[in-house]
Amino acid sequence: MDSTPVTASGLEPQSALSARMAAVEEARRATGADPRQPALDYPPYRSTALRHPTKDLHHADPEAVELFAPCFGERDVDPLEADLTLGGAGEPLGERTVVTGRVTDARGRPVRRQLVEVWQANAGGRYVHSGDRHPAPLDPNFTGAGRCLTDDDGYYRFQTVKPGPYPWRNHHNAWRPAHIHFSLFGTEFSQRLVTQMYFPGDQLLALDPILASVTDPRGRAMLVAAYDHGVTTHEWATGYRWDIVLGGAHGTPLEDGEGDRA
């Protein structure tokens, strides 16, 4: 009846999951849904089953409060919070890395002085979280949470160590590609974004149903940082560049003659 090969864990093998990921991507291309945004109903990522809304999002014209976002400032964030390698008695294990980039809106305008939050696993692929039962070592010198404000040109910058991949139980032999979780605010409520940044060249990217919930390859490419030798520093840290474009109510590209003073 079911030709799915049996795995030692009893979970679906990667080959079957990958075939389903490809089929959903193909099917979604035909629906007219915006493939650049993740599919809320995405069966290959099993936890979506009971958590995705079944009704379409309902269009609403933003009201006053939704045309603004919360303000954060110097009182909110200590500049040292942008360095995830601090906080322990010694240096954390792993590849010291700088991740930096620019946050803009869809018209290319910088998002200035706004909050960016990050969290990640340590170099061994373990989170400082009671729910993480992956038997990789915790690092006493690494917590993996940071914050900063973007500068006047929209740039953020974190110093950290490269996170490791980690296993999860979505399917048999499931491994999340190395990633850093990002949380961002724009200048209006609807620009709120929580996402994940990935590293280039990772062979796990093509196998990951969370990344694949974005069913457009160009959308997925926007989640992968670029190695940047100009960010890499002599005898200190490797460097990656990752720019972020926030959508929102005013995130549609310009019409001619509109927004001249932007």
Partner: protein
């Protein structure tokens, strides 16, 4: 028309990804859910339960509120992450517990113009939710304003009620049903109507 060269606008925005199960040591912070100190003058409890398509508690959701003050004005004050106990910043964040419940200590928003319906803007994140969801929790009292609200008017009667809070003795109660019976209306605020 400006003569200055204009930067080509990027055609794509960065996609969202699930908040995952491991945000609890990073996103919550001291005082996150207390927009005003509990028990202070005018403080109410905005709370409710987040449930999934089986009606089960969603234990690992993150809920954020963003709102006007009682005068209807949108706060422009910093300090949400390091509250001073006196400044109303309009932003709060909280995690659901094992029972799926969340709550904030806050002030009730006023309408931004006479006759408008006042609401809390809410954002919901969770493992298994591939992108954040936006919704509104309207205050239930001003029935004329609710009847005149453009969003509520655009909804079928059966779904309208999902956006209107009820009251218990402590303040507005707003349950969030991600899926199924009584599914909450979630919003597309992007300014584009679906084709």
């Amino acid at each position: 028309m400006s003569t200055a060269p204009r930067e080509e606008p990027p055609t794509r925005t960065t996609p969202g990804q699930t908040v995952g199960p491991f945000f609890h040591y990073a996103l919550p912070y001291d005082g996150d859910r207390d927009l005003v100190p509990p028990g202070s003058a005018g403080a109410v409890r905005l709370g409710g339960r987040v449930t999934d398509g089986a009606g089960e508690a969603v234990r690992d959701a993150l809920v954020e509120v963003w709102q006007a003050g009682p005068d209807g004005a949108v706060p422009r004050e910093t300090g949400s992450l390091r509250r001073d106990g006196w400044t109303f910043t309009g932003f709060g964040r909280t995690c659901t517990g094992r029972d799926g419940r969340y709550w904030f200590s806050t002030l009730e928003p006023g309408p931004d113009r006479p006759g408008a319906a006042a609401f809390f803007a809410l954002t919901v994140f969770a493992r298994g939710l591939t992108d954040r969801l936006f919704t509104r929790a309207y205050l239930p009292d001003d029935t004329a304003a609710l009847a005149a609200d453009p969003l509520l008017a655009s909804l079928p009667a059966g779904r309208r009620a999902t956006l209107v809070a009820r009251r218990d003795g402590r303040g507005p109660v707003f349950d969030i049903r991600l899926q199924g019976e009584g599914e909450t209306v979630f919003l597309d605020l992007s300014g584009r109507r679906a084709p």
